[in-house]
Symmetry: C2
Subunit: 219 residues, 2 copies
Amino acid sequence: MMNKEETLVVFSGGQDSTTCLFWAIKHFKKVYALSFLYGQKHQKEVEYARAIAQEAGVEFEAKDVSFIAELGRNSLTDISIQMDEEQPVGSFPNTFVPGRNLFFLSVAAVYAREKGINHLVTGVSQTDFSGYPDCRDGFIKSLNVTLNLAMDEQFVIHTPLMWIDKAQTWALADELGVLQLVRTKTLTCYNGEMGDGCGHCPACKLRREGLETYLATKK
Amino acid sequence: MMNKEETLVVFSGGQDSTTCLFWAIKHFKKVYALSFLYGQKHQKEVEYARAIAQEAGVEFEAKDVSFIAELGRNSLTDISIQMDEEQPVGSFPNTFVPGRNLFFLSVAAVYAREKGINHLVTGVSQTDFSGYPDCRDGFIKSLNVTLNLAMDEQFVIHTPLMWIDKAQTWALADELGVLQLVRTKTLTCYNGEMGDGCGHCPACKLRREGLETYLATKK
């Protein structure tokens, strides 16, 4: 049934959302990719995202939502704050941008509504959620209901990665035929290095460990 | 209990949010007022709001959220569209800004969190909701849960006007000792005229009929 419909993927050009983009291409008739500029330190990630979308043959748009960065102090958008390398005990890492997924998905929903699209795809995962509350399943489902009530619509938020870990995400990319593309052309690294990245930030560690686990099981 | 706590009022300087501002002053230890610039045709409403906040002795801030206006076409922010004078049958009036209260309250919550405030006040009313889905009680409650899950917080959204009509809102203003202030210094009119307004837009009609009803019962 979904194959007859259109969908909008919240797309950063990282490992997770790129895997979701190809998942969406497999399951929907037409796919749109939406990226966000929000004052992140590595704005070039939007250009990497655009290149991947072009290679995948999907319509791409980048929206400026830089108001998000002004709302709360965090190390992803404020260059005066050093990023946490380890998660502080009992609190979020300072890479947490308060309400980020709330705003991304809300903007995506309004944008999708304008195009007559009611399917949304996001790469959030509760399994590897790194302490961010806005990656949890309960939040996404609550937001789905809130968006429907806000606009009297019937949005459906899809989260193909919600219950799988990084190794399984690599397996999914492989199944979709894009393991090499995801490995070499996506940006996950907090220090802005494409592909295998800097190797020592939390995002690189998680990504590498997942890949090693997946490749070990594949042998 | 609330008298020991602080609250943030989503404040436009209109009849409803001004009444809520004085309701909040009565019930909380300290009150903050937050206004939004979102490309509305009557930007001076923010200056009226600032003047009322000053008179009430509450801290005031205006945030630019003009990204909202770019998301969906509507007659409140797009000067090329004539505002509906009557509500179209079976649809929203074209003054509906998709997701407006979703974004206002989400931004307010992030802002409140930064200040250590967890009480939010909004003047939405299901009784006079004019067909806007984002003024309904179910939406506000769903959003409250969503905000709590998004940021792992315990926000409480107060809606003192949810179940009262315009006449009862005038009665509340009178009870709070601000009937004259609300009548003469607030801006509700879609055509940007303060106090009693243009008299013929839907907002003016609703406001006037409520006032007449209230004054008739008072005699």
